[in-house]
């Protein structure tokens, strides 16, 4: 009997025409999004690899110059594009793709792709994540919202229940029919995605893509199941197909379109980031004031010189067996690093606070939980961006220290006349980014997974409630 209802439901939904039309729309959008994603990821990776090689050539061929001059020339850290960004590009379009690593300054990521796009990008970009997070719930709700309500209106619901079937079984069968439809649409898409990813995208910076892909697939399966279950429940609870559809579509507008936008805006307004000029003015003022807030750079220089003179037991800078300029540059770098840690720490804390506001709103919208989980698994969220920025900054500090110390240890008595050459430039390593594993990023995503799980439980509870109520009413 159970199987009969499922088969009948599948046959009817496909004959009616609405389901095939919605499935075609979904597949068309998903394929277009996947193709766009593949093309973009492959192009970005190729450009990045070529740029890395060229940048290294430039670094090594800068000729004979003072190491501090080379430190100002610096290196570039280019952000890699994870394979799973084909599924969810996350904040990739809106975050810097390259960071200039130079002396004295922790620069921010520059060259955000969205700055090279037209204004229409602000409406949203076509990606698989967008299709799955925004369009899929709409399709699912439209497919399911009238499943039971239409039977009730036609009078066939009573006939079905009169066959001795429980409402729970009936709703379960309808739910299963919707799930089977989605699986029939989703499985070929998933296979296509993986085959394409393997064929077209050469390398992947993430070390645990397989487990991330599994998590992302399970996440979207759970997300779809929330809407399928809620759709069937709404259909059973509503008095008419008209009411069911209005309720389901209203829920979609609120949960999928409005709440994420309001939550993000509110997060930004509650935790605004400082305006760039004010931020850098504060950084400059703190650096100039020194660790105790009242020692200018000239006094700091004198203090360090005195300390070195004492240490080496000599009377003047010229008698030092080391290059004082290199030591002083490194001392100032270390002080600057403290200032950067403080200010950038506060900046990232604001980003995270703002994100936490969004996370709380996930209790009103499963889309927010799914969005964060999806970006996280794809390696395109704030946490991964922060990891890249931190790694790049650690590399900056390492190479600047190496250059300063080379000058300090080998350029005694030469000041800024000391020169480095190709041998030194070759000793300075290139930035080799190692993306984090999920385990390395802590338990943050478990909260989103738990919220998504809670949404699924709520949807199931609603379905159980709807089944009981339908049993009493019909």
């Amino acid at each position: 009997m159970y199987g009969t209802v499922v088969r009948r439901e599948l046959t009817e939904s496909w004959r009616e025409g609405r389901t095939p039309a919605l499935a075609a729309l979904l597949v068309l959008l998903a394929v277009a999004a996947a193709l766009t994603g593949w093309q973009q990821v492959a192009a970005v990776q190729a450009d990045r690899d070529a740029a890395r090689v060229l940048d290294r050539e430039s670094w090594e061929s800068q000729g004979t110059r003072n190491p501090h001059s080379a430190a100002h020339f610096g290196q570039y850290a280019f952000r890699p594009q994870p394979l799973l960004s084909v599924v969810d590009p996350g904040i990739s379009e809106f975050a810097g793709t390259a960071i200039w690593l130079e002396a004295h300054s922790q620069n921010v990521g520059a060259h955000r792709p969205v700055e090279d796009a037209t204004e229409i990008a602000r409406f949203g970009t076509l990606s698989l994540a967008w299709v799955l997070q925004v369009v899929l719930p709409l399709v699912v709700l439209v497919m399911t919202a009238t499943m039971v309500a239409a039977e009730r209106e036609r009078g066939t619901l009573r006939q079905l229940l009169a066959t001795g079937q429980s409402t729970g079984h009936l709703l379960g069968a309808k739910l299963l029919a919707a799930v089977v439809t989605l699986v029939l649409i989703g499985l070929p898409l998933l296979a296509l995605l993986w085959l394409g990813a393997r064929a077209f995208v050469p390398a992947d910076p993430l070390p645990d893509t397989a487990s991330r892909a599994t998590a992302i697939t399970l996440g979207y399966a759970a997300y779809a199941l929330v809407f399928v279950t809620a759709g069937v429940a709404i259909s059973a609870l509503a008095r008419s197909p008209r009411g069911a559809l209005a309720l389901a579509l209203g829920a979609w507008v609120v949960a999928v379109v409005l709440v994420p936008r309001v939550a993000t805006d509110l997060g930004e307004r509650l935790h605004p980031v400082p305006e760039a000029n004010a931020f850098w003015a504060t950084v400059r003022a703190d650096m100039a004031a020194g660790p105790d807030g009242e020692t200018p750079q000239s006094a700091r220089r004198a203090q360090l010189l005195d300390a070195l003179l004492d240490e080496y037991g000599v009377g003047s800078e010229a008698e030092l067996p080391v290059n004082f300029a290199g030591y002083f540059l490194q001392a100032e770098e270390e002080w600057g690093n403290e200032v950067f840690d403080r200010h950038f720490g506060e900046l990232w804390a604001r980003y995270r606070d703002s994100e936490r506001v969004r996370q709380r709103f996930a209790l009103l919208s499963p889309t927010l939980a799914m969005s964060r989980l999806s970006m996280g698994m794809a390696g395109t969220d704030l946490a991964h961006q922060q990891h890249f920025v931190s790694d790049a900054e650690a590399h900056r500090r390492d190479i600047i220290e190496r250059l300063n110390m080379d000058m300090a240890e080998h350029g005694a008595g030469q000041g800024f006349r000391y020169m480095g050459d190709e041998t030194l430039w070759r000793e300075i390593p290139d930035f080799d980014y190692r993306a984090p594993t999920l385990a390395g990023l802590g338990a943050g995503y478990r909260v989103d997974a738990a919220v998504l799980g809670a949404w699924l439980l709520v949807a199931i509870a609603l379905l159980v409630f709807a089944a009981r109520r339908t049993g009493r009413r019909d």
Binding site: L29, A32, A98, S105, G124, V134, V135, D265, S354
Partner: protein, 467 residues
């Protein structure tokens, strides 16, 4: 009799459970969006004026020192440093229009200030401004433009979905059409009444808010006119769509699907199409090429200098200013690197121009995109406004660079007369251009035309409506 039907409809509407929650929610969203817009506009205006004042202060100090030197009041290091071309600064500031409080558009994305002087190349004039929260940028601001573009049509859909099918399903349509009133008149009366009830208060809020923040009246009126035409477009679209479906269920489905298509699917697809047709060149390649060019040019700096001096023997004697040798060649090196990068930079401009051209043609197929661009143009927060500001800043840099570069190469300090002849700081105001009224006029005309066409089609179908 038709007046009686209309009057009855008004009474029913005013007592309906839908109207007041929808109206209150829409106005609350509008007020929230406007308050956020005012905050953002205020912060930006304050930051712009603070930056201009800070750079202006330094420029003023430089000018005072120059005057003191010419009066012979300086000696030692102060006299040596006075008039150094490397210390000249100008501010380039994109001053926001108050209308940015309604539509911040692209303004939050791009830098709105730059310090322009002797140092730096054009490609590095704007740097370290990308502090915005990427998540917030991704979601986009909740501004009044968003409320008009997304929520106003939703409110119209919620109030207008059952203007025909509801009465048809309940059987009331047969009764109503038994009176001397046509289905067309009934539907239009209902829809226009609903449109007025939600649009007028929202646009009154925009108008009052815009006036309070000091928006230019013409721009504000253009913004409101485009928003009104957009509301009319949706009203006509709803009128046409409701004639196609006999049940409320299918009508609701069609209306929401149309809303999702016009506001979510088509803009995303259009963006993908525009990017696919003219993909932007690679920024990382540009960065790497710029650095390779810098290494190449720096290694040939001495030859560049010799060549320049050969062409400009009048600069050969030296002016005694304390300028390091690398600073003397800096201008020539920067100019040469810029020259090498010019073809790459041109590819970016050409690619963006091509995309903008495609978008300008295809925007007519997606009215929300047309309206959004008109809002941004009117508010001076469009992509075109940013590009105009960027271009003006580059021009200022070039003009300053020519004079300061020559003085640096000759190690010659500036005198007061030369300094006073330098171009002043830039205060860029996008709303002074001609693009805004043009885009607003085009959007207004097209939206009204489409509204009339859809209205005409709806009228034809409504004339044939059977109960």
């Amino acid at each position: 009799m038709s007046r009686a039907v209309a009057s009855l409809d008004v009474r029913l509407l005013l007592r309906s459970r839908m109207l007041w929650p929808v109206l209150v929610a829409l106005l609350a969203a509008g007020a929230y969006a406007f308050a956020g817009g005012v905050d953002r506009y205020g912060e930006r205006a304050d930051a712009a004026s603070a930056f201009a004042a800070e750079v202006g202060g330094r420029a003023g100090t430089f000018r005072d020192t120059l005057a003191a030197m010419e009066r012979g009041e300086l000696d030692g290091d102060r006299a040596r440093d006075a008039g150094l071309p490397t210390r000249v600064v100008r501010a380039a500031v994109w001053v926001p229009s108050p209308l940015a409080a309604l539509s911040p558009g692209q303004a939050g994305l791009y830098p709105f200030f730059a310090e322009v002087g002797f140092f730096g190349r054009e490609d590095a004039l704007f740097s370290n401004y990308q502090l915005d929260n990427p998540l917030a940028l991704q979601a986009g601001p909740f501004d009044l433009g968003f409320v008009v573009l997304y929520l106003l049509p939703l409110a119209l859909l919620v109030l207008g979905f059952d203007v025909l099918a509801g009465d048809r399903e309940s059987g009331n349509l047969r009764l109503l059409l038994a009176h001397p009133v046509s289905a067309a008149r009934l539907v239009w009366t209902r829809l226009l009444l609903r449109a007025a009830l939600v649009t007028v208060p929202l646009l009154a809020l925009a108008l009052a808010g815009g006036l309070i923040v000091g928006s230019p009246p013409i721009g504000l009126l253009a913004w409101v006119a485009v928003a009104s035409a957009y509301a009319l477009f949706w009203t006509a679209l709803i009128a046409w769509l409701v004639t196609w479906f006999r049940t409320v269920q299918t009508t609701v489905l069609a209306l929401v699907a149309t809303w999702a298509l016009l506001l979510l699917v088509l803009p995303s697809a259009l963006h993908a199409l525009v990017q696919g047709l003219h993909p932007p060149p690679s920024r990382v390649t540009l960065v790497a090429e710029a650095r390779a060019a810098q290494v190449r040019v720096e290694s040939a700096a001495a030859e560049l200098m010799a060549e320049y001096m050969h062409d400009h023997p009048e600069l050969a004697n030296g002016g005694g200013a304390a300028i390091a040798p690398w600073m003397q060649t800096h201008h020539l090196v920067s100019r040469e690197v810029e020259r090498e990068l010019a073809p790459l930079q041109a590819r970016f401009r050409d690619s963006l121009d091509a995309r903008q051209r495609v978008l300008s043609g295809l925007q007519f197929l997606v009215p929300p995109v047309l309206a959004q661009r008109a809002f941004n143009e009117t508010a001076g927060t469009s992509l075109a406004a940013w590009r105009a500001f960027e271009s003006c800043t580059f021009s200022l840099k070039r003009e300053l660079g020519e004079v300061l570069g020559r003085h640096a190469i000759a190690a010659r300090p500036l005198d007061a007369a030369t300094y006073d002849a330098l171009p002043p700081s830039l205060e860029f105001r996008a709303d002074a251009g001609r693009a805004a009224p043009l885009q607003a006029g085009v959007a207004l005309g097209w939206l009204l035309l489409v509204a009339v066409l859809l209205g005409g089609l709806a009228q034809r179908r409504l004339a044939r409506v059977q109960p």
